[in-house]
């Protein structure tokens, strides 16, 4: 997050602190005893081409400010900019930069490494896009090396031109290839930051969880990481879409590019893509993602099962209770769910579920006796089924190294809001006491200790169990265990909850008040090429 009330002089001198990477020397900062390196270049690439490692340099390079982020087709004021405070940053196609937080620069320290993959589908976001992504507190309290990074997205990362020549063979997946290149950088260099290249955890949320799913199925990433965490990142139909090139053809036609001179796409000013996509509807910019090519990317676990390598990697997978269905985004009546009487709540639930109301009430009480009945209206069924599907796909393949979780804690906004998509991130990063809509005095502190400790235990040992944490068993064929994080965390059998979720998936309900995404507006603008 960069900005916090300081208590010690920040050190940034010509000779201190220096990290000696295999490519050259970097100068960073010491902030409150944590070493921070911002904006380290890990690769470079031509548009649509595979990334290349960085060239070595002489002398000392500064790594004190974040690197540019990948241009986005549509940067809008997000409707969750309050609940999920965003950092927007200058965009540039030259965007392969990462950031490191660590407690030591001694290669002998061999601390676990946690590499964060940001969300925003495969289309938007960056390694610093949420204030919550700042790695300082996670590194300090968890005694780990934290890495966050930027890479190519949208058209720049996933634009399948393979039909137009071998040089574009991987253009549908170069955004993921950047991630592989970043993991190679970690292998070569993280020792210089006190990290252990033999113990790398990749973790990500939403699109970042999707990236984790994808990396588990990418042979060239085998061995570059050793544990994986998927947070709110499983939607069964992506990644691994069918080979559908209709958007590619629409873009080529829309720009009036002659297919004989497809290389002209390499020098089209980026804003022309933005303008074209803006004319295709508000969500058109999110249409780009990885494509299964059975070469670079083997396809999703749901299509081909886990790869042999993926089976050996311990995985944590889970999501949050409200996601996009929570009551800040969509609500009904007066919008004050926690002020409703039990009678009122039941009558609203009955109205919404109609003939299925009895079953809804029964399933809710079995799954979540600790929550008020009305919470059923705001319980996610978009990401949650994917979590179950993923756990079961691994269990079916015989894996006994998969842990499931649900983050259920209510947030304080408007006196009680189910956790939104992204709500667990500040807790994982131990930044929840910095984020207005997340912070509950006296509750947040122990809660983020608990959640973050489980993540760092997983990074250290490959199991989220450590003294002081509730016992958390893996989800297997025979034991459907799930950790429910809340003020009173508990691990238990998840079957009752799964029944509720499958029911909700089959019984969508309408809400009267929905916060709508504002009309897309563009960030930056101006000639970029």
């Amino acid at each position: 997050m960069f900005i916090k009330k300081l208590t010690k002089q920040v050190i940034c001198n010509p000779d201190n602190p220096l990290a000696h990477t295999s490519d050259g020397v970097l100068r960073g900062l010491i902030v409150d005893d944590t070493y921070i390196f911002r904006g380290i270049r890990y690769a470079a690439a031509k548009r649509f081409g595979m990334p290349e490692p960085v060239s070595p340099w002489e002398g000392v390079k500064d790594a004190i400010i974040y690197g540019p982020v990948c241009p986005e087709l549509q940067t809008v004021q997000p409707d969750d900019n309050y609940t999920v405070p965003h950092v927007f940053y200058p965009q540039d196609e030259d965007c392969q930069y990462l950031n490191v937080w660590t407690q030591s620069l001694d290669p002998a320290k061999k601390r676990p490494v946690m590499v964060w993959l940001h969300g925003g589908g495969f289309s938007t976001g960056s390694g610093i896009e949420h204030f919550a992504y700042d790695g300082e507190n996670l590194s300090r309290e968890g005694d780990v090396v934290v890495v966050t990074l930027n890479h190519r997205l949208n058209i720049l990362g996933h634009f399948d031109l393979s039909a137009y020549g071998d040089k574009y063979r991987y253009s549908a997946n170069v955004g993921l290839a950047d991630l592989v290149e970043a993991l190679r950088w970690v292998q070569r260099n993280i020792g210089a930051f006190g990290g252990d290249p033999e113990n790398v955890t990749i973790f990500g949320q939403s699109g970042g969880g999707g990236k984790v799913c994808a990396l588990l199925q990418i042979p060239s990433a085998d061995g570059l990481f050793h544990r994986a965490v998927i947070q709110s990142g499983v939607i069964p139909e992506r990644p691994g879409r069918k080979h559908d090139n209709s958007m590619v053809e629409k873009v080529i036609d829309g720009l009036g590019i002659d297919r004989e001179h497809i290389e002209e796409l390499e020098s089209v000013p980026y804003w022309k893509f933005q303008k074209l996509i803006a004319g295709m509807g508000p969500r058109a910019g999110m249409a780009f993602g990885p494509c299964r090519d059975d070469d670079f990317y083997m396809g999703s676990i749901f299509d081909v099962g886990p790869t042999e390598h993926a089976k050996t990697v311990p995985v944590m997978v889970g999501n949050v209770r409200g996601e996009f269905m929570q009551n800040y985004v969509r609500t009904t009546d007066d919008g004050q769910k926690n002020r409703w009487s039990a009678e009122k709540a039941e009558s609203i639930v009955r109205e919404k579920f109609g003939d299925a109301a009895d079953e809804a009430i029964r399933l809710m009480k079995q799954a979540y006796p600790q929550y008020p009945l009305q919470d059923i209206l705001f319980t996610d069924s978009m990401f949650r089924p994917g979590t179950f599907d993923y756990l079961q796909a691994r269990a079916k393949a015989g894996c006994e190294n998969t842990w499931g979780f649900m983050f259920g804690m209510e947030m304080p906004v408007y006196s009680g809001t189910l956790p939104w998509h992204n709500a667990e991130i500040p807790y994982v990063f131990r930044n929840a006491d910095y984020i207005e809509p997340s912070y509950i005095p006296g509750v947040t502190e122990p809660m983020q200790d608990l959640v973050s400790s489980a993540w760092t235990a997983f990074a250290k040992y490959g199991t989220p169990n450590e003294e002081g944490l509730p016992e958390w068993k893996p989800y297997t064929k025979d034991g459907h265990w799930m950790m429910y994080f809340d003020r009173e965390p508990r691990a238990k059998n998840a079957d009752a909850e799964e029944k509720l979720i499958r029911f909700l998936l089959d019984h969508p309900i309408e809400m009267t008040h929905v916060r709508r995404q504002k009309q897309p507006v563009l960030f930056g603008g101006g000639p970029r090429v």
Binding site: L6, Q9, L29, P85, G524
Partner: protein, 526 residues
């Protein structure tokens, strides 16, 4: 800045932090005793038209996230991103938003109001573009109401289409008109936020200082503010942008876009990137043709904007406004922006410093050495290589002109505190802002334990005193006499803050102007 370690519950509650404005009810958040309202719409405008007041609404509108910033011709990571941490928000032409921090929602509280105009020339920036612009600490420390705002800039704010019809009469000053609209909103609404509409200060830095100067020279802003403060901006000498040139730029923009004068209204719907690219070319073309600098900024049309005081004199209608004016020691000449020599200046040997003196000051090296030691005996002689002379001369001339043309008080300052960054860096352009906003403890390169806390109390206190009474004196502020032509009294903010009179007169007379290329600072287009 939005993000800070919290100690109390902040998230919004129904029935809390709600304010009735002229247009409707707003709900903000309450953060540890400070009410914060973000993204309040103060106007809306069609492209190239004057702003109009916000449309009234029913019910309660949330004011909990910042509003859009004006699109920039080109946004890149600035050279000073480390020394001046920037916050970039979403850009949209729908950008007339302001933010309010206050300790009271009682109309009887009548606290002084400080309205901040952001820098970035007239081209870039926003009311939240620096983390240092966050108003919470200043509001809390000095019990004032703080307002920051976004408005139209660059081609959107200053394209003079007046030659193409009455409806575009003020398009060359649309960005300035937004500022007036914001001050009008403050005048009409700030009482409900515990503010005193009779005690409003406009203050700004760099381009923001220029905006403050433009308000003094804008008849439409009269009566909307009662103090003014210019920090490192607004006192540069140079010709005004006259209609002759601003209309030429507009003609070239239309030509680039292939829009004929009869169809001028088509320019209102051109995709912004195309407009920006055309604007960029039009400026270059105009500069080549006229042989002088072409830029976007207020147009001295003799109607909306009367021209800079150096050219047009101070308007008598705003001659009663007390002024606070000053700048910082290093500005763009600081050793991070333009390093000279090798390594940290503070570890140079006397011989090495001398060699640098010879290289950069040539025949004037002896004179600079001698006068610098007299002026700043406590400083490292190497600092003379990283000292700004231009802006400081502008401050002195501006203050002097004001003294000649107005009886209202003028106070001047110079911010000299060195940062420990990089082994010692002279105060850069923007370095005083975190101190004025009482945010210097939050910024890595600004914070010096034991020094920062004291100095930001003095500076934030002085600014707040000034807005309260028109005089910065009081509390822990060292005695600060008015600036006079004979004395050149200047408050020098440093580890030891004190007033000095004419202390650098001699030094400025011998210090050569070291040329530098501004373009290398601004970043280049790719």
């Amino acid at each position: 800045m939005y993000i800070r370690k919290l100690t109390s519950l902040v998230s919004p509650k129904i029935g809390q932090a709600e304010v009735q404005t002229k247009a409707g009810i707003l709900r903000g958040v309450l953060s540890d005793g400070t009410y914060v309202f973000r993204g309040v719409e103060y106007a809306h405008a069609r492209r190239f038209h004057l702003p109009e007041p916000p449309k009234p609404w029913e019910g309660v509108k949330e004011a909990i996230v910042y509003g859009n910033a004006c699109p920039e011709i080109f946004t890149c990571i600035p050279h000073d991103q480390y020394t001046v941490p920037h916050y970039f928000t979403v850009q949209s032409e729908d950008c007339q938003y302001l933010n309010v921090w206050t300790r009271h929602l009682d109309p009887e509280a009548k606290k002084p109001v400080m309205v901040w105009f952001h820098g970035g020339g007239m081209m870039t920036g926003s009311g939240v573009e620096h983390y240092a612009y966050d108003g919470e600490e200043l509001s809390k420390y000095a019990d004032v109401v703080v307002v920051t705002l976004n408005h139209r800039l660059n081609v959107l704010g200053f394209l003079d289409l007046s030659a193409y019809g009455e409806e575009y009469r003020f398009s060359g000053n649309a960005g300035t008109a937004d500022l007036v609209a914001a001050l009008r909103w403050v005048h009409d609404n700030i009482e409900a936020f515990g503010g005193d509409p009779e005690r409003v200060m406009i203050f700004g830095q760099s381009g923001g200082g220029g905006k403050v100067a433009s308000m003094l020279q804008c008849p439409y802003a009269d009566g909307l503010y009662s103090r003014a403060c210019l920090q490192s901006g607004g006192m540069r000498k140079g010709p005004d942008l006259l209609p002759e040139q601003s209309r030429k730029v507009a003609a070239y923009v239309l030509e680039e876009l292939g829009i004929s004068p009869e169809n001028v209204s088509e320019i209102e719907t051109v995709w912004y990137d195309e407009l920006a690219a055309a604007a960029d070319k039009a400026l270059k073309k105009t500069a080549e043709e006229t042989g002088s600098r072409a830029f976007f900024g207020p147009v001295a049309d003799g109607d909306f904007y009367m021209g800079h005081p150096f050219n047009a004199g101070f308007r008598k209608e705003s001659a009663h406004i007390p002024l606070l004016v000053g700048n910082v020691f290093g500005e763009f000449c600081n050793n991070f922006a333009f390093p000279k020599g090798e390594g940290s200046k503070n570890s140079w040997s006397r011989e090495y410093t001398e060699a640098q003196y010879r290289e950069y000051f040539g025949g004037k090296a002896d004179a600079v050495r001698e006068t610098f030691a007299e002026t700043y005996p406590e400083k490292n002689p190497a600092d003379a290589l990283f000292m700004d002379g231009n802006m400081r001369r502008g401050v002195l001339d501006f203050a002097a002109l004001r003294c000649r043309q107005s009886d209202a008080p003028v106070y001047s300052f110079l911010f000299n505190l060195e940062s420990p960054f990089n082994g010692g860096t002279t105060a850069w352009h923007n370095a005083e802002i975190p101190y004025v906003f009482h945010n210097a403890e939050y910024l890595e390169p600004s914070f010096i334990p034991g020094v920062t806390e004291i100095l930001q109390d003095i500076m934030a206190g002085a600014w707040a005193n000034f807005v309260a009474s028109g005089d910065p004196n009081g509390g822990n502020v060292p005695l600060w006499p008015k600036f006079s032509l004979s004395g050149q009294e200047t408050m020098v903010f440093d580890k030891n803050t004190e007033v000095k009179a004419g202390h650098d007169k001699k030094l400025l007379s011998v210090l050569p102007v070291i040329p530098f290329n501004m373009q290398t600072l601004m970043g280049t287009k790719k």
